[in-house]
């Protein structure tokens, strides 16, 4: 394949047709209206999480003695008072976010409240990452332009700006999954080269599951014990997860796959719950908002969807190339 063919191939991988990535993108009003309502649902979810976080923060605040503050809460000297202040601030910001979703300053306040509350929660030793995606989506949405739905819809530039931010947010979530997949692939290859057990080993998922269940004595795993007793069953599932994660960033540029990958990623989290007992409730809502209900997803078409799947698209491309070569040879013979 020559240089032009390679660059053409890469360009096709990230063409982003009918998304804000495309040069000829017109920011349709219908896509904007969908995105606008999805953002509103995100702030409803934020209020819900703020409410559920109250209990967690209160439990910390009423018993906290020492603190190893993460940088956003460097100012905390009395962790008990700070905990109460932050749980109230988070709840108040959550309410503001629902009432004034269209206001950028309010969205900035919501992001700062989530940042502070999350940093406080994890300033007592280990960092858990269940709130990280919520935090980063709030960060991205703070950049959305201010204005009512009608006002933004009227201006093509404002609509475009809104949808660019929404698309960037989808992509950032995909970057998280791609990083996760690349880490598994990297350490998996490293293990292959050093002759150790790694991500690509047949028993990898069983070893991870056994290890996790022993780490957490009261882990509520439903299928974990079964998998550890039948370790081969985990191999295809683990390879599938690595593939789904690694290519996630490519999916953002292929709106026909947004829903399918949303389903795949939700299934992945269902799997981690069944095997490892890890439930990540907000992530399921985020995947629904950003992928399953993606404003850029076209009406479902089975052939187009299958043809866009990374790997299958390569095979189709190869078939086209081979056919083209055969035709050219046929012409030459004549």
């Amino acid at each position: 394949m020559n240089g032009g063919a390679v660059s053409g191939f890469i360009a096709r991988q990230v063409r982003g047709q009918d998304t804000p990535w495309a040069n000829d993108y017109s920011a349709p009003v219908a896509q904007f209206s969908n995105a606008f309502w999805l953002v509103r649902v995100f702030y409803a979810m934020t209020l819900y999480i703020s409410y559920t976080e109250m209990r967690v923060l209160w439990d910390i605040a009423r018993t906290a003695e020492g603190i190893s503050p993460l940088w956003p809460v460097w100012w905390v000297s009395d962790p008990r008072t700070a905990g109460v202040f932050l749980l109230l601030a988070l709840l108040f910001a959550g309410l503001l976010g629902v009432l004034f979703t269209s206001s950028r300053p309010v969205r900035v306040v919501v992001f700062l409240a989530i940042l502070e509350a999350t940093a406080y929660r994890f300033s007592f030793g280990g960092i858990n990452h269940l709130n990280h995606t919520w935090l980063w989506v709030a960060f991205c949405f703070a950049f959305l332009p201010s204005g009512s739905q009608e006002n933004v819809a009227e201006s093509a530039a404002a609509r475009r700006q809104y949808l660019v931010i929404f698309f960037a947010t989808q992509g950032l979530l995909a970057v998280f999954y791609t990083l996760s997949g690349l880490m598994k692939a990297f350490w998996g290859l490293h293990a292959v080269m050093t002759g150790q057990t790694g991500s690509f080993s047949p028993f990898a998922l069983a070893v991870l599951t056994a290890d996790r269940l022993m780490q957490v004595p009261d882990a509520s795993s439903i299928l974990g014990v079964f998998l550890v007793d039948h370790p081969w069953l985990g191999w295809p599932a683990h390879l599938w997860v690595i593939y789904v994660e690694v290519v996630a960033i490519l999916i953002v540029f292929r709106p026909e796959l947004h829903r399918l990958w949303g389903i795949f990623l939700v299934m992945f989290h269902v799997g981690t719950f069944l095997l490892l007992g890890i439930s990540w409730n907000p992530q399921i809502v985020l995947l629904t908002l950003l992928f399953l209900w993606s404003p850029f997803a076209p009406p479902f078409n089975l052939a187009r969807t299958i043809a866009a799947i990374p790997g299958i698209d390569l095979l189709l491309e190869l078939r086209t190339l081979l056919r083209g070569g055969a035709l050219a040879r046929g012409e030459a013979r004549r």
């Binding site: 990535w21 950049f143 960037a168 293990a191 057990t197």
Partner: protein
């Protein structure tokens, strides 16, 4: 290149570079911090450690009651109500404090999770085959890294 694309690339690439770069920096400088919050590499279950190395806190005496052999604090946590955080969060805290220098993390851990109890404990390192441990329950012999007492003694 339009502004939209620049913003998108800046956000995605910027995040990835900061997450991976800061993690590499912390590792290279032997910093006990796990990450520069909130930049996380999303390296979850990436390494299949076999054999696995794991730190543990084992209680030797709790409010006057002696344990011989010492008992993992995670096994005592729920029945004794030692702490309210999820066991995995406490497990992560133990891994972080065992690898940290100085007493800061340990004292914070004692204050938050063991406060109100008179506890003698030891920090140990285990090295084991996870599948073997699963089948036999054998975690091997611990390497003792230090003995400590909470301030309520």
């Amino acid at each position: 290149m339009c502004i939209g694309r620049r913003f998108i690339i800046f956000l995605w690439v910027g995040y990835a570079v900061l997450a991976v770069g800061s993690k590499s920096y912390l590792k290279a400088t032997d910093d006990p911090a796990v990450e520069v919050f909130p930049f996380f590499t999303w390296s979850l279950f990436s390494k299949v450690q076999d054999p696995r190395e794991e730190f543990a806190i084992e209680v030797e005496m709790l409010d006057g009651q002696q344990f011989a052999p010492p008992v993992d604090v995670l096994e005592l946590a729920v029945p004794r109500g030692l702490f309210r955080e999820t066991p995995i969060a406490v497990h992560k805290s133990i891994q972080a404090l065992a690898q940290s220098n100085g007493d800061g993390r340990r004292l914070a851990f004692e204050g938050n999770y063991l406060g109100g109890h008179a506890i003698s404990y030891r920090i140990v390192l285990y090295r084991f085959d996870p599948m073997d441990r699963w089948r036999t329950g054998n975690r091997g012999s611990p390497k003792i890294l230090g003995h400590y007492q909470t301030k309520e003694q």
